[in-house]
């Protein structure tokens, strides 16, 4: 499991996560307001220039666009039929620009900085009883659980295949859930034994 972050040493990468996220919000508003194909094309050109500045490979740009190409194509056809070819081009450009801008932030910001930005953004939630320190612990635990669960699943599948069963196992997940729930309870006790007290988490 690899983060989508692409490591480079550029000005775009060095900019603080909070600045990039603020820029994303602002950029999204601007792109939503622009309506002519010309201005949206210019916005897309600016975003692509930022991709070049961040020295991101073309492969990454295409990968970011892949999930929206279908929507962009669908919108293009619908708009063309209703409002003509200019409007159709504008709409497709807007969808692509929005997704490319959001992906730019993801590609150029390390996971740790993003998690910090999320924890910081969650700070106002403490007013309603949540605790950012809790969130940090939960995120760390989740990242550790993912490879563990995948290993457990592979082991059960391998055991099933070794017994000669051919169809995918539907019986494995439920016993696996109980096994991991037991493990989680033990883990909670282990964390408590190491001094992370509940009042820290409250």
């Amino acid at each position: 499991m690899l983060p989508l972050y692409i490591e480079r040493d550029t000005a775009v990468h060095r900019a603080p996560a909070s600045v990039k996220l603020a820029g994303l919000v602002l950029g999204a508003v601007v792109i939503s307001i622009l309506s002519s194909a010309k201005s949206l094309g210019a916005a897309l050109a600016v975003i692509l220039a930022l991709y070049a500045l961040a020295r991101l490979p073309l492969r990454a740009t295409l990968a970011a666009l892949k999930p929206v190409l279908f929507v962009a194509a669908l919108l293009f056809v619908m708009q063309w039929a209703i409002a003509g070819v200019d409007a159709a081009i504008a709409v497709s450009l807007r969808v692509c620009a929005l997704v490319l801008l959001a992906s730019l932030v993801t590609f150029t910001t390390p996971l740790s900085e993003m998690i910090e930005a999320i924890t910081a953004a969650a700070r106002p939630l403490s007013l309603v009883g949540a605790n950012p320190a809790k969130l940090g612990l939960v995120i760390a635990l989740t990242l550790r659980f993912i490879p563990t669960l995948m290993n457990d699943y592979r082991e059960i599948e391998a055991a099933r295949a070794a017994r000669g069963s051919k169809r995918p196992g539907l019986g494995a997940p439920a016993p696996m859930l109980i096994k991991t729930l037991r493990m989680s309870a033990a883990l909670a006790d282990a964390i408590a034994a190491r001094g992370f007290e509940e009042r820290d988490a409250r």
Partner: protein, 188 residues
């Protein structure tokens, strides 16, 4: 002992379960992939209850937004919240909350048919309703002129996923009943 801490670990566990479900093989139908992932909110709600279940799905979405490729097909990052999948994703914590709240209410007399009805309502009803709204809005705000046309397109697209998600609700309900018998967490 450590009930609060245990809840935190369970929340992390079900955020991870939802992520791992997305790594199971999937089929692409148009722009939205069919995967086992939507079982995540069903299991979280039915096994952890409303609050912890919804929290686990919120943590999962936060990690997706942070740029981990945890969605089925290895998608992730902020960009996915601009694709037609956005409504389905935002529905995850809400579905877990609805399922959890209903399961908590009938916990002591919960049987498989009731559990299946609840996972259908929360896991299929809530997720598909918000999914269609999100899908229609991405089409409409993207510029498809009439809202009605966008909604029609979204509803037709959404129907493809109904049978698969109903099967997932069945599996999630049976897994939840298995856990209820073997290791109950609600009503402790």
């Amino acid at each position: 002992m450590n009930a609060g801490l245990r809840d935190l670990v369970y929340i992390a566990l079900f955020a991870a379960v939802t992520a791992v479900l997305g790594l199971a093989p999937k089929i692409d139908v148009g722009p939205v992939p069919i995967s086992a992932q939507s079982m995540g909110p069903m299991l979280a709600g039915a096994i952890l209850g409303a609050r912890a279940g919804a929290s686990s799905q919120a943590v999962f979405l936060a990690l997706v937004a942070a740029g981990l490729p945890l969605l089925s097909g290895g998608r992730g990052g902020l960009g996915v919240f601009g694709t037609p999948s956005v409504g389905y994703l935002i529905a995850f914590p809400i579905a877990a909350f609805v399922i959890g709240a209903l399961v908590e209410r009938v916990w002591s007399r919960l049987t498989f048919p009731t559990a299946f009805a609840i996972t259908l309502l929360g896991g299929v009803g809530v997720i598909h309703l918000l999914g269609v709204i999100g899908w229609a809005l991405t089409l409409y705000l993207g510029g498809a002129t009439t809202f009605a046309a966008a909604v029609t397109a979204a509803v037709i697209g959404d129907l493809v996923f109904l049978p698969g998600d109903m099967a997932k609700a069945f599996l999630a309900a049976s897994a939840a009943m298995f856990v209820k018998r073997g290791y109950p967490l609600i009503g402790r």
